[in-house]
Point group: C2
Chain length 395, copies 2
DNA sequence: CGACTTGTGTCGAATATCAAACAAAAGTCG
DNA sequence: CGACTTTTGTTTGATATTCGACACAAGTCG
């Protein structure tokens, strides 16, 4: 069906719908836009004027002529506004300014303990936001929204942490409210693994709509993107695979109070502990990675076994959510391909052919940046939504 | 925010948006509708006229007067049109006519082998549809859409089965195309477990947006509703938990060619097989259920163990999708509470507190009807979608 | 029983979109 | 080098839709 002559209904609210088409940054001519939207060329002209007025789009030279007058093209102006994304980890925090295309303009990373409590940590976020904006030569009026990733469960709708184990003082804290009071822009808050999933998907797999991101670091968690949407679950704790029991874990105690959790066997600290028990001189995961780099067989074996353990859980995940890509990220993945090899070994062997036929399991390509990128994308998703654009143009 | 004076943008295309509000069947007054949509009362009047014209809604007496003229109320007219839902199992088929509220008007169940191939089975569907319509006193013009559930993986977007193991001749068959040619209405096709999940959610848990439906019968599968949406995954095989390995299954061969699958240990045939091996005189799952009803300890123990096995897998599922309800259905659940008890035992013990705090695990209340109901709901979801209403009113 | 309150239908005004006509730009061809 | 072609960009009147206000209807309350 090519639009059956669209008779009666006038059309859509404002310029927001047109803008959604241009969000991808690809330049388009007016004719193209009229064609895809079904609107009259004249209407397109008016809408484009409104968007140009707002500064959200800009003319991009001319297109190729096909025998007549060459068309002028328009595209999202990435530099029109900015968003800020903050990844607040247990001991370190990263903050970044991104343009409307999601490209990171500036980053800043610093030691900062989440346990210092929301006021101090968020004050740092606000201060850094202000100074990054100055550094980027932007006024605070250019800031559209802030995305925040926290190392614990978050109720995304309200932006409040829910019983976070390692974030004393944060339980139920109104993060968006606090940030709005300080910066005057909305804040979107989510679990750190979820924003990494968003970051990885937007940066490395924009065409993939079913992706599972697994973070293996001090803890183990995952973010699920299914049908193009991040899945959060009833309490926002979807993807929490760290405390699933695995076979090999029998009898091993986990910090959570249970026994045999994946996290107690395959997380960074767990791998280090196991190697220590075997007599290796390792303190942290960094030491383990160092050993692996030096081709220490014992360390390689331990990492690979951790991969198998994770694979055991991922096998069920693959059957359940049927993703087309699994991305492994987190500090432990810096130990080279060994973790990945362990995961693949188990997943490809155990899962059903239908689910694994088109499944690829890869290492995170964005590495440490996945989280901040995801935080920025989260902010952008909100700030460039039809409703938000509508509000901007209604002003 | 209570709608900040909606200044410029005119509004929406047609009456379809108003209709979405009325889909729930609750009667509403014009004032209520104007209030929730933000449209002018006069506009509401016009829209209602259009919907009344189409026959989709009807006036429902008067509301309570609050001191002045009593308002007239309008609600969805469930009897305006009908949909048909068909649940095609391995050996039996059920078909039903439902009104727009999703209430089943007529049902018909018959022995029918899916292995007879698509032409014969779908011919039966079409013939039964026609005769049920006659029996219900409806013309075929009243039929809006058909929903179909099939016992195997289906690519929902195209309605074609994908490598179904027990459906010879169906691979890649264009089910919606065939039905459209015969009946002139669109058909929506999905996996049987998925439609059971939809049916259960719509009938028993309309307020729950994160629900996991687990069918335990000849096979074991699940349907995931997350964020109110059915999750289908990259290839449409999401929820396929039958071939996840469980601990107890070590060494037990499964039909799928692998070892230790959940289905090989906890499905109906598997339970019967295990009891036979212990010397019990059981042939089918029905025999097992009979034994359980007579309080045979061995049978009860077997069923409960199956519950534990399923629970082992569901523990991971709970961590992954964080549902607020798990519903158990399928023939094996007719063995009373024992299966449920086994599932609960394991899930509540192993999962993280955050995920289980608000989790209830219950037995299917719609029993055998979940599937046909789901098929009807699937058809309704399509037939009452804004686009479909738009098309109806554009005619 | 009358004043008041609340809901319903109609009408003109404002707005927005459409379609088509019109003007402009740039390349092609003789 | 100029006329033609092709496509783009803009303007204009027609159409449709929504809004707000007003008049009327149908109850309640004193």
């Amino acid at each position: 069906m090519v639009a059956p002559k669209k008779p009666g209904p006038p059309g859509l609210s404002g310029a927001s719908e047109l803008f959604q088409l241009l969000r991808d940054g690809r330049p388009r001519t007016r004719a193209e836009l009229a064609d895809t939207t079904g609107l009259a060329r004249s209407t397109i002209g008016l809408r484009l004027d409104a968007l140009l007025e707002l500064g959200l789009i800009r003319p991009i030279g001319e297109g190729a002529s096909s025998g007549g007058r060459p068309p002028s093209q328009f595209a999202l102006d990435p530099a029109a506004r900015v968003v800020v994304g903050a990844d607040l980890g247990a001991t370190h925090a990263t903050i970044a300014v991104a343009d409307l295309s999601g490209a990171i303009l500036l980053t800043h990373r610093e030691a900062l303990a989440i346990a210092d409590g929301p006021e101090r940590v968020l004050t740092w976020v606000v201060d850094e936001t202000r100074s990054l904006l100055v550094e980027a030569g932007r006024s605070s009026a250019d800031l559209l929204a802030v995305g925040v990733g926290l190392p614990g469960p978050v109720e995304h709708d309200t932006g409040r942490p829910v019983n976070p184990p390692i974030m004393p003082g944060w339980d139920g804290f109104d993060v968006p409210g606090w940030i709005f009071d300080a910066l005057g822009v909305p804040a979107l808050v989510d679990n750190d693994v979820n924003i990494m999933a968003i970051g990885e998907q937007s940066r490395s797999f924009p065409e993939v709509s079913d992706l599972l991101f697994v973070k293996v670091a001090t803890g183990i968690g995952s973010g699920i993107i299914s049908g193009g949407l991040l899945q959060r679950g009833a309490q926002g704790s979807a993807g929490d695979i760290g405390h699933v029991r695995i076979e090999r874990g029998k009898g091993v105690a986990c910090d959570c109070g249970n026994f045999g959790c994946l996290e107690a066997m395959a997380s960074g600290p767990a791998i280090a502990r196991q190697l220590r028990a075997e007599g290796a001189d390792v303190e942290t995961m960094s030491d383990v990675i160092e050993l692996v780099r030096r081709n220490d067989l014992r360390a390689i074996r331990a990492v690979r076994q951790a991969g198998r353990d994770i694979g055991e859980v991922l096998t069920t995940c693959v059957s359940l959510v049927n993703p087309s890509v699994i991305v492994l990220g987190g500090s432990v993945t810096r130990a080279g391909e060994h973790l990945l090899a362990g995961v693949r070994e188990v997943v490809y062997q155990s899962s059903t052919p239908l689910a694994t036929e088109h499944l690829s399991i890869v290492q995170s390509r964005t590495a440490e940046n996945a989280a901040v990128i995801g935080a920025c994308i989260l902010a952008l998703q909100y700030a460039l939504s039809p409703q938000a654009i509508e509000r901007m143009s209604a002003r």
